[in-house]
Subunit: 280 residues, 2 copies
């Protein structure tokens, strides 16, 4: 994503906890920051992409104090998949310090990010969104605006990831039923992926699940677990029972209990096979 910004002509100051990770960007002309807080200056624009809520909170309101360093009028484009509650809290913190936070979580794996094929969901102040739009467009192939409520884009991102995980579980159950009924699940998922389910989720994960190719991981299983926890937390706050999400949570817990941490999150599909007495 940073490389695409450089390619689009932006001058970047970059930071990663693992210094070596920014070396390729520095080689392309980016300036290396010694600390995360150093990427920000008053009125500037900062893009963050981090692993979890705690990391984003530490960046914005902790020692790095991004919200203060960007004031007055700087914008923080928060692209991590975090809870809507965290986004709400941090957007308020930004506002209290005189800066602005825009949520812009993405759909797409690392290869999509490289190819500038990310789908970006954005929400927050209209003025800030208009200002950062060219930056988002330099990182993705389409930007979808979900309004002024800063947490809206995070809700949509979680809904999407929940729907993907639900599709993984459904494929896992269907594949197990077909396999134990003497039917080739690979051929069946291929047919479905060409017809009524002709979408990236099914075309990408169908062969992985039918043929049990869960390594190398495109998206590690514990990250999927984190997202389902965020879904259930968001649903709990809105008083929404989500039985499929609860089932998915147990599939993730069980997959981790069985030592599948290094597999792709689609390995939750093995739960149905295990339950049906199929040995790995």
């Amino acid at each position: 994503m940073a490389a695409n910004l450089i390619a689009a002509g932006y001058h970047l100051t970059v930071y990663n906890r693992t210094t070596s990770k920014v070396d390729p960007l520095v080689a392309k002309g980016a300036h290396r920051a010694a600390r995360a807080g150093d990427v920000a200056h008053p009125g500037g624009i900062v893009v963050s992409m981090l692993a979890d809520d705690a990391s984003v909170r530490a960046l914005v309101a902790g020692e790095d104090a991004l919200a203060e360093h960007l004031a007055p009028d700087g914008i923080h484009i928060s692209m991590s998949t975090v809870s809507p509650a965290t986004t709400r809290e941090l957007a308020e913190h930004h506002a209290s310090k005189g800066s602005v936070m825009v949520a812009a979580p993405v759909f797409g794996r690392p290869n999509a990010a490289q190819a500038k094929q990310l789908r970006i969901c954005v929400s927050g102040s209209s003025e800030a969104k208009a200002k950062v739009r060219p930056i988002l467009e330099a990182m993705g192939n389409e930007v979808f605006d979900f309004g002024e409520n800063p947490e809206a884009a995070n809700v949509v991102k979680l809904a999407g990831n929940f729907m993907i995980a639900a599709a993984l579980e459904a494929m896992g159950e269907a594949v197990t039923m077909m396999r134990k009924s003497g039917v080739d699940p690979g051929a069946a998922l291929e047919m479905l992926g060409k017809t009524i389910f002709a979408a990236p989720v099914y075309q990408g994960y169908g062969p992985i699940i039918a043929h049990g190719r869960f390594t190398p991981a495109g998206f590690r299983l514990p990250l999927g677990m984190k997202d389902i926890e965020l879904v259930l937390q968001t649903a709990r706050e809105a008083n929404v029972p989500m039985p499929t999400a609860s089932l998915l949570r147990d599939r993730f817990v069980s997959a981790i209990a069985k030592g599948r941490d290094e597999m792709d999150w689609s390995a939750i599909a093995l739960g149905a096979a295990d339950d049906a007495g199929i040995k790995e």
Copy 2:
């Protein structure tokens, strides 16, 4: 489907319990049979599309005795969505009488059938499949062969319908979470249907679920209930627990309990909204 066969140049003898339903076909030159058994003659080919297992069983092995009327060497193309166990039993009955049954269930709603856009899954004897292939191609836009085992195509059809129902439930839960979190579910499902879920199932049902447009029914809810029962029965025979299918069954039972029989099967998505205290 029959009209497309006539358009392709086939001379049909047609039968429906409701006589008036075949009038348009008779007007196009089809011959009207007085009883179901009368559509068959020795060595002929019969296409059947019926509502449930009992109807197909009555046609093949009951008073109508299709298996006998087709002998020797006639072929019955059974296109109904029935259980693999019924197909196995009836294929054996056909064989015992000297005729052949080929399973050819379809994906596609009535409008797809009219437009010759059905996706047809076929399984059974290779010789019989080769003979009926032009007939199948006159009714659909693609034919997928799942081998010699006559019940295989029915297993695939049930797996596909299960995956559709699982997607309906996932959309129902996601839409409810979004609505109660203050996010427009219509815009979110539209985005997902253009990107990672760019497939007919999500593009077709997404707006129906987001906007609650469950009538008129494209596929009536009790028919979906029947299919999920067939999925669970097939899974039980193969010793495969399918927790998502069990959850779906309860959603269908509840929808029927609430008087939603005349709605489209996607109205199972209302279960998540009901549970979250949303009034219709």
